[in-house]
């Protein structure tokens, strides 16, 4: 059995952006599963045990910060890198994301190329 490609969970309620991130990561050789809201993302993270999660901050049902909090409270998910994506660009939003334990806060709009390289860096560092 060959080495499986690292699994990334991507969650965003905007379908276009979800597909954009999925395409960019798939092209870079990652396996990607997607969710359209925070609850689905949390379920996927618990079931699939990904190498990394990419979460949009503004999502229905449970927002990205809410998912992040639950992930950090779950000892079985310790060490899971979480990247937050957000169109909220105020410094206070960024600080809040980091204080809750985000590995990286990426502002929208972002360059897919740069996002892929950020994911690569974090996975290598982990």
């Amino acid at each position: 059995m060959r080495d499986a490609a690292p699994l990334v969970v991507v969650a965003d309620d905007a379908g276009d952006i979800l597909a954009l991130v999925q395409t960019a990561l798939t092209r870079a050789g990652y396996e990607v599963v997607t969710a359209g809201d925070g609850e689905a993302a949390l379920r996927l993270i618990r079931e699939r045990r990904p190498a990394l999660a990419l979460l949009d901050v503004s999502m229905p049902k449970l927002d990205g910060l809410g998912v992040l909090v639950q992930v950090r409270e779950d000892p079985s998910l310790a060490g899971l890198p979480v990247i937050l994506l957000s169109a909220l660009a105020q410094e206070s939003d960024v600080e809040r994301g980091y204080s809750l334990g985000a590995s990286k806060y990426v502002r929208k709009p972002f360059s897919p190329r740069e996002l892929v390289s950020i994911v690569g860096e974090i996975l290598r560092a982990g």
Binding site: A14, I17, L20, A87, A89, E91, P112
Partner: protein, 567 residues
């Protein structure tokens, strides 16, 4: 009536004619039939003048003027009856006589006319005026009663008791005059004339009351009565009399200095009278003074309450306006945040998919070129969104700054490096020159934004083949650092230099669509510099180039050894 309308100024003609006749009155031998006839004629003419003026000028409300005419007519009838006793029937009139009845009847009509005129004034203004007038009338009443009326009323002589009625009527008249004077701020000539004639009548009555008991005898005091008639008639003939029955807007009762002086005098009347009686060795009229003073106190309290309520209501109004402004401000902030978020989301798709498309080899020219145009314009749109968001936050006092000690030289070098491709695209020579380790306390992101703005501007406004230079040096004293960004661009006209850092300002030579821009870049640059305790300025010569200077406080000077080491 037709002929009256043809006279240019009927009121002036009437005043002149009336004055001449009054002059003639005093040239005639006193206490003769001729004098009596002239006196009655002047009185009667005033009634006609009031009626004529009312008909010609057509005020909105005529009733007050008809009441004036009736009051004046009653006086005239009284005059005639007295003269009939003296010159036709040759005997002294009885006390009281029918003439007294007519005289005393006149006062309420005159006072009623004034009251009706005042009813047309705005409520708040009227209330204050009426209270002030009541305070004044009470004070006048105290004096009138103690020094004139009490003696007359308590006298055994029936004639003197009739005189007391006149002095009482004077209090009524003074109330009318006071209300009229203190209520509105009509400054029409008709208003002044009415006030004057009322004052003439009042003074004449008071003079008469101090030395009564010669009805029918002519005296110099008659001049005041006659002037009162004439001026009253003139007031009705003056075109401005119509203004007295139109409701005035926008004036609030003011506590002007003269009004305050009059009110203060009224408030001090009771104690003053008490002292005066003491000095005159009279028995103090304790009851009158006590009742009068209490009335004045109650009225003053009512006036004060009115003032406090007016202040309260304007304060409430201000507070609710403030609340509305705050709500509008919150709405604006929310609006900006939502707009920013909702613009960024579609831009993420546009710019992201463009990048994916351009990264693949599947897009041939010229389509690749088209997509690059879309990409460039998307980037511009994003900058605009960011700039607008920055300005909105800055103006709401919410510029997030994270101050750290950082080496400004490193930031300058990074900014220059990142601008090189833009400069190269226009064959512009971009060079940087920095001292090392110039430590400033600053927000890294904002400092980079500042440099990016200044460099972007310089490249944008410099023609192909020009040059842009960035220099960063500590000043000699070691407490400031100076950053200069100069170019060989189109320059800024002197008139424009003053406004260059204003929001949405665009220099005259950049308008017209050839060079894109919103006029926010330098406004943001100044906001950033000032938030860091620095200053920004510009030197420019149109056609030659522009140099922006930024001075920032220096935290630590470069150690000479370090500079040498790096060099």
């Amino acid at each position: 009536m037709r002929s009256l309308r043809q006279v240019a100024r009927p009121w002036l003609a009437y005043v002149v004619a009336g004055s001449v006749v009054i002059g003639v009155y005093f040239l005639l031998p006193f206490n003769t039939v001729g004098q009596a006839v002239l006196y009655d004629a002047i009185g009667a003419s005033s009634v006609v003048a009031v009626l004529a003026g009312t008909t010609v000028c057509r005020p909105a409300k005529r009733t007050p003027w008809y009441l004036f005419a009736i009051g004046l007519a009653a006086f005239v009838v009284g005059d005639v009856i007295f003269n009939l006793y003296a010159y036709a029937w040759h005997r002294n009139p009885p006390t009281p006589s029918v003439a007294d009845v007519f005289y005393l009847l006149g006062y309420p009509f005159l006072a009623g006319g004034f009251a009706l005129l005042i009813l047309d004034v705005r409520r708040a203004e009227r209330r204050a005026g009426v209270i002030d007038a009541a305070i004044l009338s009470t004070a006048f009443g105290i004096v009138q009663w103690i020094f004139l009326m009490a003696r007359l009323v308590h006298s055994a002589d029936r004639g003197l008791r009739v005189d007391a009625a006149y002095t009482g009527m004077d209090v009524v008249l003074l109330s009318g005059l006071a209300v009229f004077l203190l209520t509105p701020s009509w400054r029409a000539p008709a208003y002044r004339m009415l006030t004057a004639s009322l004052a003439f009548l009042l003074v004449a009555d008071e003079v008469f009351a101090t030395n009564p008991n010669h009805y029918g005898n002519a005296s110099w005091n008659d001049a005041l009565y006659l002037l009162s008639y004439v001026v009253w008639g003139a007031a009705a003939l003056h075109p401005s009399m119509v203004k007295l029955s139109t409701r005035r807007r926008g004036t609030r009762p003011r506590l002007s200095t003269p009004r305050l002086a009059v009110l203060t005098a009224a408030l001090l009347t009771a104690p003053f009278v008490l002292v005066l009686q003491r000095l005159l060795h009279e028995r103090p009229a304790v009851v009158t003074i006590a009742v009068g003073a209490s009335l004045v106190a109650v009225l003053s309290l009512a006036r004060l309450a009115g003032l406090v309520r007016a202040v309260d209501s304007s304060r409430h109004q201000l507070e609710s306006q403030n609340e509305q402004l705050r709500a509008a401000d919150r709405l604006k902030d929310e609006f900006v945040a939502v707009i920013s978020h909702d613009l960024r989301t579609p831009l993420t798709s546009i710019m992201g998919y463009l990048e994916l498309a351009l990264d693949s080899d599947a897009v041939p020219e010229p389509e690749r070129g088209y997509l690059k145009v879309v990409d460039r314009n998307s980037a511009r749109l994003l900058r605009l969104v960011n700039d607008l968001l920055f300005v909105a936050r800055f103006e709401a006092g919410e510029m997030d700054l994270t101050f750290v000690e950082l080496d400004l030289g490193a930031i300058v070098r990074q900014a220059v490096e990142e601008s090189l491709p833009r400069a190269a695209a226009k064959a512009i020579r971009l060079t940087g020159e920095t001292d090392d380790a110039l430590m400033v306390s600053a927000d890294r992101g904002r400092m980079f934004q500042l440099l990016d703005n200044l460099l972007g501007n310089a490249i944008k406004f410099t023609p192909e083949g020009g040059r842009v230079e960035v220099r960063l040096h500590g000043d000699g004293d070691g407490d400031a650092v100076r950053l200069e960004v100069s170019d060989s661009g189109i320059g800024v006209a002197e008139n424009d230099q003053l406004h260059l850092f204003e929001r949405f300002f665009r220099a005259s030579n950049t308008r017209g669509g050839t060079v894109p821009g919103t006029g926010l870049g330098l406004y943001i640059a100044r906001a950033i510099v000032e938030a860091h305790g620095g200053t920004i300025g510009v030197d420019s010569r149109p056609g030659k180039g522009t140099c922006f200077r930024v001075d920032l406080p220096l935290v630590r000077e470069p150690a000479p050894s370090a500079a040498e080491f790096v060099a």
